[in-house]
C-alpha cells in the first residue's frame, strides 16, 4: 500500500484514523454491540501501519512478498474490518454484516476473511506465528516485514514471552510488535500487573519505543526511530479505549460495549464533533 518515498503526513494519517473510527462505529451500531472501545483505541496505530508502513497491494492479497499485519487480539476484528473496508478489500455491504449470524466477518477474526492473515481470539497466538513468518520469509530471501499487534492483556499469556524470546534469539530484523496498552481486560482494569512493559520487551532483546498511542505524531516518530534498528522492534502504545467518543471513554466497563439502538446516533455525532 505504502510508497515509502512519499509517506502520508501526520494530518493525512489522522484523517484516515477518523474514517476508520467512523466505519467501526457504523459496524457496532448495526450489530448493537462490539469491541468498539478497543477498536477506537488502536485506530491511530492502524492508520499509521497500513498507510505509512505496510507494503502490500490490496488487489494482490496473496502476493508472497507482501508485508503482513497480524491481529493477535481477535476480538479487535472490528478495527481490522474497518481498515480492509477503507482499502476496498471489503465492501460496505460486507461490513454491515459485522458479527451477525452467517456473516463472513465474525466478532473474533478468522483467516478465511480476505485480508485477515491469522485466526486469532485464543490470545497469545499471534507473536509466535509472526516469528515463524519472519523466519520463513527470511529463509526465502523475501524482503517482507511482519507487524504483530498484541495487547497488554496478552502479555499475561506465557506463550507471548516464549515468542518474544525467540524473536531476538533468531535476530529477526523483519519483525515488529505493536503492543496496545489500553489498561483494560475482560474483568476490568488490569487484573494482573504487567508493568513495566517497555522494560520487559527491552530485557527480552527488542528495540523499544513507548508512545501515546492516540498521538499520530508520536506513533510516526516511533516507527522512524526504530525502522533501521537490527533485530525485532516493539512499539508500546498507551491508548485510551474508546478514543474519539467521550461517552465511550467515560464508560466504566469498556471491554465489551453494548449500546441501546437510539444512542448510536448520539455517539456517532460525538465522534464527528470530537474530530472537528
Amino acid at each position: 500500500m505504502t510508497d515509502t518515498t512519499t509517506r502520508p503526513s501526520v494530518s493525512e494519517l489522522t484523517e484516515i484514523a477518523h474514517r476508520l473510527r467512523r466505519r467501526m462505529m457504523r459496524m457496532a451500531a448495526d450489530k448493537g454491540e462490539g469491541y468498539i472501545a478497543q477498536g477506537l483505541g488502536i485506530a491511530d496505530m492502524l492508520a499509521a501501519v497500513y498507510w505509512s508502513e505496510l507494503q502490500f497491494d490490496a488487489e494482490r492479497l496473496d502476493d508472497p512478498d507482501r508485508d503482513r499485519f497480524l491481529l493477535s487480539t481477535g476480538h479487535y476484528s472490528i478495527a481490522l474490518y474497518a481498515v480492509l473496508a477503507e482499502l476496498g478489500v471489503l465492501t460496505d455491504e460486507e461490513t454491515a454484516t459485522y458479527a451477525l449470524n452467517g456473516s463472513d466477518l465474525p466478532m473474533s477474526a478468522f483467516d478465511e476473511t480476505p485480508g485477515v492473515e491469522i485466526t486469532s481470539g485464543s490470545l497469545g497466538h499471534g507473536l509466535g506465528q509472526g516469528v515463524g513468518m519472519a523466519l520463513g520469509l527470511r529463509l526465502k530471501g523475501s524482503p517482507a516485514t511482519v507487524y504483530v499487534e498484541l495487547s497488554d492483556g496478552e502479555l499475561q499469556e506465557g506463550s507471548t514471552w516464549e515468542s518474544a524470546m525467540a524473536a531476538s534469539s533468531f535476530a529477526l530484523d523483519g519483525l515488529w510488535a505493536l503492543v496496545d496498552c489500553n489498561g483494560i481486560q475482560a474483568d476490568g482494569p488490569m487484573v494482573m500487573d504487567i508493568e513495566s512493559v517497555a522494560v520487559k520487551w527491552s530485557a527480552f532483546g527488542w528495540s523499544v519505543e513507548e508512545v501515546n498511542g492516540n498521538d499520530m505524531a508520536e506513533i510516526v516518530a516511533a516507527f522512524a526511530a526504530l525502522r533501521d534498528k537490527p533485530g525485532p522492534k516493539a512499539i508500546i502504545l498507551r491508548t485510551t479505549p474508546g478514543w474519539g467518543v467521550p461517552t465511550i471513554v467515560a464508560r466504566d466497563r469498556a471491554h465489551f460495549v453494548r449500546v441501546h439502538e437510539d444512542e448510536w446516533t448520539k455517539l456517532l455525532a460525538e465522534l464527528e464533533e470530537n474530530h472537528g
Binding site: 478468522f110 507473536l127 516469528v131 515463524g132 523466519l135 526465502k140 516464549e162 515468542s163 524470546m165
Partner: protein, 327 residues
C-alpha cells in the same frame, strides 16, 4: 515389586529390538525428502536429539529451528513458517505437544489447515519416565480436533512412507514417531496410503484390528494362536483419522469376533473407533479391546510396562485363544 535386573529404555526409544531395525527412520526420511522439497523445514523444542530430527538438521542447518523448551512457540513458529509457504515438521515428545500445546495445534494449525506435520515422539507407553512423559491419550485428543490427519505407523518401513505422504499432502498432521532403533516388521512391498487400512493376514476365527507397533505384536500373537488351533486375521489401521470405515466393515464381516490392539488408552482411540463404527453400521459382534486403563502409569522399561499393563504379545495371544467371549 521391583525388578532388580531392570534395563532402562533410555530416552524414549524402543528399549530392546530383536530382529531387523533401522536407526532414526523419521529424520533419515526427512533429510532425504529435503533434497527434492526445498520448502521442508524442521522445528524442535530442545528435543532434537531425542526426536530423531538431527539427520535433517545436519543436512539442512539453515532450515532447522530449535526454539528451546517452548512447545507452544514451536507450534506457532511452525504455523507461521507454513503460512509463508513452507512445510513444517515439528518434532518433540508427544506428551508435551498434545497436552501443553493443544490450543496452538487446534487454532494456529488445524483451523487454518496449515502445512504443519507434528511428530509426536515417544508415544503411548514407550517412555520409561512414567505418567509425566507417557502420551497415552494423544490419539484420542488429536482425533477430536477437526481437520487433523492422525497416523500411528507400525514400523520403520511405514514411518518413512508416512513422512513422505505427509510432506506431499496439504494440511495438518499428527504422526506418532518411534525413535532410535525402530523395528522393521513390514516388507518392502508394503504400501502406506493415507486413510487406508491393510489386511496383513487372513483367518477365520478371530480378527485383530491393530494400529502402531501393536500390529507387529498382533502378527506374532496370530502365529501363536494358530499353534493353539485358532485362525486369526490381522487388519492394520495406521490412519486413525480419517478412519477407514469401509475397510473395517469389510474385514469385520468375515469374522464372528474381533480383538482391537493399540498402544493407547482403551478409551478414545482405535478400540473406540471400531466399536462406534460397528454399532453405527448395526454390525455389532463381540469385541475385546486391548489397550491401557484409565490411570497414570509408573516408570519402567518398555518390556516391563508392556507386561504389567497388558500390551505384550502374550496378552494379545491370551485374548485370541482364551474363552473370554461369553463374558
Amino acid at each position: 515389586m521391583v525388578e532388580l535386573k531392570n534395563r532402562a529404555g533410555g530416552m524414549g526409544e524402543v528399549a530392546e529390538v530383536a530382529g531387523p531395525y533401522e536407526v532414526a527412520p523419521f529424520g533419515t526420511a526427512l533429510a532425504e525428502l529435503g533434497k527434492t522439497m526445498p520448502h521442508i523445514v524442521g522445528v524442535t523444542a530442545d528435543m532434537g536429539r531425542y526426536s530423531d530430527i538431527l539427520p535433517f538438521r545436519d543436512a539442512f542447518p539453515d532450515r532447522f529451528f530449535n526454539v528451546g523448551m517452548a512447545e507452544q512457540d514451536a507450534i506457532m513458529v511452525a504455523a507461521g513458517l507454513a503460512k509463508v509457504g513452507h512445510v513444517a515438521f515439528v518434532a518433540t515428545y508427544s506428551v508435551f505437544l498434545t497436552r501443553r500445546a493443544l490450543d496452538f495445534m487446534a487454532i494456529a494449525c488445524a483451523h487454518s489447515k496449515a502445512d504443519v506435520k507434528v511428530m509426536g515422539g515417544s508415544p503411548g507407553l514407550v517412555n520409561p519416565y512414567g505418567g509425566t512423559h507417557q502420551a497415552l491419550e494423544d490419539l484420542a485428543v488429536m482425533r477430536m480436533i477437526p481437520d487433523v490427519t492422525v497416523i500411528d505407523p507400525c514400523d520403520a518401513t511405514e514411518l518413512k512412507q508416512v513422512v513422505k505422504a505427509a510432506a506431499e499432502t496439504p494440511g495438518t498432521f499428527y504422526i506418532r514417531n518411534i525413535r532410535g532403533k525402530v523395528p522393521v516388521t513390514l516388507d518392502d512391498s508394503y504400501r502406506f496410503e493415507i486413510g487406508k487400512s491393510r489386511v496383513l493376514r487372513e483367518g477365520t476365527d478371530v480378527g485383530i484390528v491393530s494400529t502402531g507397533f501393536m500390529t507387529a505384536r498382533a502378527l506374532e500373537a496370530a502365529d501363536r494362536a494358530a499353534e493353539a488351533g485358532v485362525s486369526v486375521g490381522v487388519l492394520h489401521v495406521p490412519t486413525i483419522k480419517p478412519f477407514d470405515t469401509e475397510g473395517l466393515l469389510e474385514f469385520a464381516s468375515r469374522y464372528p469376533r474381533l480383538v482391537t490392539a493399540e498402544n493407547h488408552l482403551r478409551a478414545g482411540g482405535l478400540g473406540t473407533l471400531v466399536v462406534e463404527t460397528l454399532f453405527d453400521a448395526q454390525e455389532t459382534r463381540p469385541v475385546i479391546r486391548i489397550g491401557l486403563r484409565d490411570r497414570f502409569h509408573p516408570c519402567g522399561s518398555q518390556d516391563y510396562l508392556d507386561r504389567m499393563f497388558g500390551l505384550d504379545t502374550d496378552s494379545i495371544t491370551e485374548a485370541l485363544v482364551a474363552d473370554r467371549w461369553d463374558h
